[in-house]
C-alpha cells in the first residue's frame, strides 16, 4: 500500500441545463490525510458524486485543483485519466458477470501488467480468504449474495493497492442488517490495509460509524459546511452505535445537514446527481 494524501482545493463545477448554468460545486475544499477514511455526507444534489468522479477521472472540474500525494491530479485545464491508483467502487455491483470471483479480483493487477497471472491469483486467494470469502473463488458473481458481491468488489479494488480508494455509496439500497455487517466487513479490510479512502454517502449514521473524519456538505450549490473529527477508537464494532459519543456526533452532523436539506426541500429544487 502506498496511501496518499488527497487535497481538494476550491473546486467548482457547473452543469449546463435547460434553465441555464447550474452550479453543482462552489469553492469546495477538503483535505484528506494518508490512511484516513474520509466520509463526505450530504443530501442528493450536493455534488459529492461530482467530486468523486473528478478524482476518479470520469469528469472534469471548472475551478480549483485536486492534488494526490502532493502532485496535481486535475485542474480545469486538465481532466485526470482514470487509473488504478484511484479505484472506484460504485453503488451497485459492477463485478464482471462473465468472470469468476477470482478472475474479477486478478483483473486489475493482470491488465496493468503489475503481476503475472500466477502471482495475481495467489494474492487474490489470500485477500479473498482474509475477507472471509474463501471457497467462492470459482463462482460467478450471479451466484453470490449482494453482500458477498460487495465484499468481492472491495477486495478487487484493494488488491490494486490504490493510493486512494473511492467508494460511491457502496451500500445504498441494502437492508439495514446486511448494511451493518458490510460496515464491519469494510472496517476490517480498512484496518488491515489502511488505504486512504474517500467514502460518499447520504447516510449520516454510516458516515459516523465508518469515518475518521466526516465532511458535511450543503446542496445547491454544493459547499463544505464543516468537517468533523470522529474521535471514536478503532477497531470499531457494532456495539459502538449505542454509545453516547456516537450519538452525540450523529446529532451534530444531523443538525449541520438538516438545515441545508430543509432549505433545498422547501425551495423544491430538482435533485441533480
Amino acid at each position: 500500500m502506498n496511501p496518499a494524501s488527497l487535497q481538494i482545493e476550491d473546486v467548482a463545477k457547473s452543469y449546463r441545463s435547460q434553465s441555464g448554468e447550474l452550479l453543482a460545486l462552489a469553492s469546495c475544499s477538503i483535505e484528506i490525510a494518508p490512511e484516513e477514511l474520509h466520509v463526505i455526507v450530504g443530501p442528493s444534489g450536493c455534488g459529492k458524486t461530482t467530486l468523486l468522479n473528478a478524482v476518479a477521472g470520469f469528469q472534469g472540474i471548472d475551478g480549483g485543483v485536486i492534488r494526490l500525494g502532493g502532485e496535481t491530479l486535475c485542474t480545469p485545464e486538465r481532466q485526470a485519466e482514470p487509473g488504478a491508483d484511484r479505484v472506484v467502487v460504485f453503488q451497485h455491483s459492477t463485478l464482471f458477470p462473465w468472470r469468476t470471483v477470482l478472475d474479477n479480483v486478478t483483473y486489475g493487477p493482470v491488465i496493468q501488467g503489475r503481476r503475472s497471472r500466477a502471482e495475481a491469483r495467489s494474492l487474490a486467494r489470500e485477500r479473498l480468504s482474509q475477507a472471509g470469502l474463501a471457497g467462492l473463488e470459482d463462482r460467478y458473481p450471479a451466484e453470490l449474495s449482494s453482500g458477498a458481491q460487495r465484499r468481492v468488489e472491495i477486495v478487487r479494488a484493494l488488491v490494486n493497492e490504490p493510493r486512494v480508494l473511492l467508494l460511491d455509496e457502496p451500500f445504498r439500497g441494502m437492508d439495514q442488517i446486511t448494511r451493518d455487517l458490510m460496515h464491519e466487513a469494510l472496517l476490517e479490510l480498512y484496518d488491515r490495509a489502511r488505504p486512504t479512502v474517500l467514502f460518499i454517502t447520504h447516510d449520516i449514521e454510516e458516515a459516523v460509524f465508518l469515518g475518521s473524519r466526516v465532511t458535511a456538505m450543503s446542496a445547491r450549490p454544493g459547499r463544505v459546511k464543516a468537517t468533523i473529527e470522529v474521535d471514536l477508537p478503532r477497531p470499531r464494532e457494532a456495539g459502538l452505535r449505542a454509545s453516547a459519543r456516537f450519538n452525540e456526533l450523529l446529532a451534530d452532523i444531523l443538525s449541520l445537514v438538516h438545515d441545508e436539506a430543509n432549505r433545498a426541500f422547501v425551495a423544491g429544487d430538482r435533485e441533480a446527481a
Binding site: 491488465i111 460467478y140 478487487r156 479494488a157
Partner: protein, 258 residues
C-alpha cells in the same frame, strides 16, 4: 433434456408420421397427392446408398458454414463499430437499413456477377441472409452494455483496447450468440433457393447440394425424393442451430450461473 421430454418429442413425431401415412392412404385433400412416409423411407434407403446424397449434404453444409462464418466475421466487428462509434453509425446505418429489407434471393443476379465461381456466389447469398441478423443483434447488445463496467475497467487500469476486448466483447457475447443462432437458421432457408437458382454444383450432379438435389428430383417427378431432401434440410438446420447454441453456451459458462 429429461427422458420424459425426449419421449414426448418422439411421440409427437410418430403421431405426425401416422397422420401423414393415413392422409396419403385415404387420399385426403392436399396431403393425398403425396407419397406416404413408408414410400419416402424406401426412397431414403435408396438415396443413402448413393454417393450423391451424402456429397449433397457436404456441399450444402460447406456453403452454409462459409456463408455463416463470413457473416459472423464481418457482422460482429461491424455491429460493434456501429454500437460504439456514433459517427460511424450516423454514416453507415442509413444505407444498412435500406439494404436490409432486400431479400437475400434478390442478390442472386448480382452475386453471380460479383464472384468468379458458383460456390462463392451461393455463399454470398447465404452471407446476405445471416449478416443483417447478426449485425442487428450485436448493435442491440453492445448498446445495452452497463456503462459502469466500462468505467470500472478503466478505473482498474484498462486502456481503450483492453476495454473493447475484455469488457465490451464479453458483455456483448450473449447477443452475438442470439444473432448466431437465428442467423444460422436463416442460412439453411437461403441455401435451398440459392442452389436452385444457381443451378447446381457445375461439376455434374454431384456437389450440387441438397437444394439442387431437391429441384432435380422434382423435375424428374420423384416426389418421395423431394420429401427426403426437405426432411434432410430440416434436420440439417435444426442440428446446426443446436450446435451453435451448445457452442455458445460453452463460451458463456456464467450464463448458467443464475
Amino acid at each position: 433434456m429429461s427422458r420424459g421430454a425426449v419421449l414426448r418429442g418422439a411421440l409427437g413425431i410418430l403421431a405426425f408420421l401416422a397422420l401423414w401415412e393415413l392422409g396419403a392412404r385415404i387420399d385426403a385433400p392436399v396431403v393425398g397427392v403425396l407419397p406416404g412416409p413408408a414410400e419416402v423411407a424406401s426412397s431414403f434407403a435408396d438415396l443413402v446408398g448413393s454417393g450423391g446424397y451424402w456429397s449433397s449434404w457436404v456441399a450444402s453444409g460447406e456453403r452454409v458454414l462459409w456463408g455463416f462464418a463470413a457473416a459472423m466475421a464481418v457482422g460482429v466487428p461491424f455491429g460493434l463499430l456501429l454500437a460504439i462509434n456514433q459517427r460511424a453509425k450516423a454514416l453507415l446505418f442509413p444505407p444498412f437499413e435500406i439494404l436490409r429489407p432486400i431479400p437475400p434471393l434478390a442478390w442472386v443476379p448480382l452475386s453471380i456477377l460479383f464472384w468468379p465461381t458458383q460456390n462463392l456466389s451461393i455463399e454470398f447469398v447465404i452471407f446476405m441472409g445471416a449478416f443483417y441478423t447478426v449485425v442487428l443483434n450485436v448493435v442491440g447488445g453492445a448498446e445495452q452494455i452497463d456503462r459502469r463496467h466500462v468505467l470500472v475497467a478503466r478505473s482498474l487500469g484498462a486502456g481503450t483496447w483492453t476495454v473493447y476486448r475484455r469488457v465490451i466483447l464479453p458483455a456483448t457475447l450473449p447477443s452475438i450468440a442470439t444473432g448466431a443462432v437465428v442467423g444460422m437458421g436463416i442460412t439453411w432457408e437461403v441455401v435451398v433457393a440459392a442452389e436452385l437458382i444457381s443451378g447446381g454444383g457445375g461439376s455434374g450432379g454431384d456437389g450440387g447440394g441438397l437444394g439442387f438435389l431437391l429441384w432435380n428430383a422434382y423435375q424428374g417427378g420423384a416426389i418421395a425424393q423431394v420429401i427426403v431432401c426437405m426432411i434432410s434440410l430440416g434436420v440439417a438446420g435444426y442440428a446446426s442451430s443446436v450446435a451453435v447454441r451448445v457452442l455458445s453456451e460453452r463460451l458463456m459458462p456464467w450464463k448458467e450461473a443464475r
